[in-house]
């Protein structure tokens, strides 16, 4: 069987919001795939996306992918959301706090959320992880351990109010977010 080569990514462009569905930012929405889901701790995730000048990116879109509160991906909770950035370049998700996820080998991964950023000017999306500050498992997380200590903070969300966690995404420049690839 001859190998095929993956289709080239092309930018999402400025008009992607033709497929925008603002309600997808709420993973617990009525009528959605997790309607009535009652487990775990309900949380909000927010952050501002900025460019190399520190200017906001109000046309960016952020996608979220996470496990359920027990650390499972395929046990009934659909951990997918999409949030358009608002006029201040902020994304907003309503979800449940994920649990620790099995890692490679015998490792355990700290609770985390994958964030992918798509925007005009990005020829391919970029992905990172959001971790929660104060989680003891952060100290031993195998992915965080791969990130140079001085940049690790770009992956750690801080609580800004009860149940509200914030992590800014800097696409370029000072404090540039660490992006991950597989």
């Amino acid at each position: 069987m001859s190998k095929l080569i993956a289709t080239a990514s092309q930018t999402i462009g400025p008009y992607w919001s033709l497929i925008e569905h603002p309600e997808w930012a709420d993973l617990l929405r009525a009528g959605g795939p997790n309607d009535g889901y009652a487990k775990g701790e309900r949380i909000s995730l927010t952050g501002q996306v900025t460019d190399g000048d520190g200017a906001i990116c109000p046309d960016a879109v952020v996608e979220l992918w996470q496990a359920d509160p027990a650390g499972d991906y395929e046990a009934g909770f659909q951990g997918y959301g999409r949030s358009r950035c608002d006029a201040e370049g902020r994304f907003h998700f309503t979800t449940v706090k994920p649990g620790a996820v099995k890692g490679r080998g015998n490792a355990t991964q700290a609770p985390h959320v994958t964030l992918s950023i798509f925007a005009r000017g990005l020829m391919n999306h970029v992905s990172t992880r959001l971790y929660f500050s104060g989680e003891p498992l952060n100290e031993t997380d195998p992915v965080l351990a791969q990130v140079p200590a001085e940049r690790r903070g770009t992956l750690i969300a801080r609580p800004t109010a009860p149940g509200v966690w914030s992590l800014d995404i800097r696409l370029q420049g000072e404090g540039e977010t660490v992006f991950l690839e597989v």
Partner: protein, 235 residues
């Protein structure tokens, strides 16, 4: 449970660099530091299962609220495969595009061309068991975009696909054969490899088209593949 199998490395030249200087918007938005490569964990190996129940399909973009859009009706069809040649069934494909005059149904699009009130420009389809998909639309028009002197985007349709693993997520654009704007387009030409660019261009297919109704175009998507056949966990 065994560890997730890794993904095939990106073929040289087959993906546009994030820093693509010909496309002005990349200047301030591309990360300067290389991404950190991680071994795939469960997180990167599974993906949301989009069900039609939650994300209803609408496969005919040529009609809006019962009224026919203006322009050249087209049928686009093909398959979604992975790099190992395996079909990707139940794959959700989101579609968006400009109308026949090159105008998006979007408040930020101020291009001075008549907007077709009967063309919204949004579609959604799912692949079948064999990875096949098809939808009906209108051939999109070219439009200006101010990237450089007298810059016009070639006719194109945008797509967003979810594979079986989150690392297979793909957003791309499909172009039309023989478009004279293609050699001038910095987004298309940001892909260095000519073969990879050619694979972004659909092909006229008289078997997909319908006699006396619409021309047909074939376009296959390829999502990233695993670098070995995953072994099933017997337990």
């Amino acid at each position: 449970m065994s560890d997730p199998v890794g993904y095939l490395p990106v073929a040289p030249g087959s993906q546009a660099p994030l820093n693509s200087p010909g496309y002005g918007s990349t200047h301030k938005r591309h990360p300067k530091q290389a991404a950190i490569r991680i071994a795939p964990t469960l997180t990167e190996s599974v993906a949301p299962r989009m069900l039609e129940r939650d994300y209803p399909a609408f496969a005919d973009m040529s009609v809006h609220e019962g009224r026919q859009a203006q322009g050249e009706r087209i049928i686009v069809g093909g398959r979604v495969l992975d790099e190992n040649g395996r079909p990707v069934p139940h794959c959700m494909i989101e579609i968006w595009q400009a109308c026949s005059t090159g105008r998006y149904h979007h408040p930020l699009d101020t291009h001075d061309a008549p907007m077709d009130p009967n063309f919204k420009g949004e579609g959604r389809v799912f692949t079948d068991e064999n990875g096949a998909y098809q939808f009906v639309s209108i051939k999109p028009g070219a439009y200006p975009w101010r990237n450089h002197k007298n810059a016009w985007r070639p006719n194109h349709i945008h797509y967003s696909l979810f594979g079986a693993g989150f690392a297979q997520r793909l957003v791309t654009q499909m172009y039309f054969p023989g478009d004279p704007l293609l050699p001038l387009d910095p987004v298309f030409n940001a892909v260095a490899d000519a073969g990879a660019r050619d694979r972004l261009v659909c092909g006229l297919d008289m078997d997909i088209g319908r006699e006396e109704w619409a021309l047909g175009y074939r376009f296959d998507f390829v999502l990233r593949g695993r670098d070995a056949t995953p072994t099933e966990n017997p337990s």
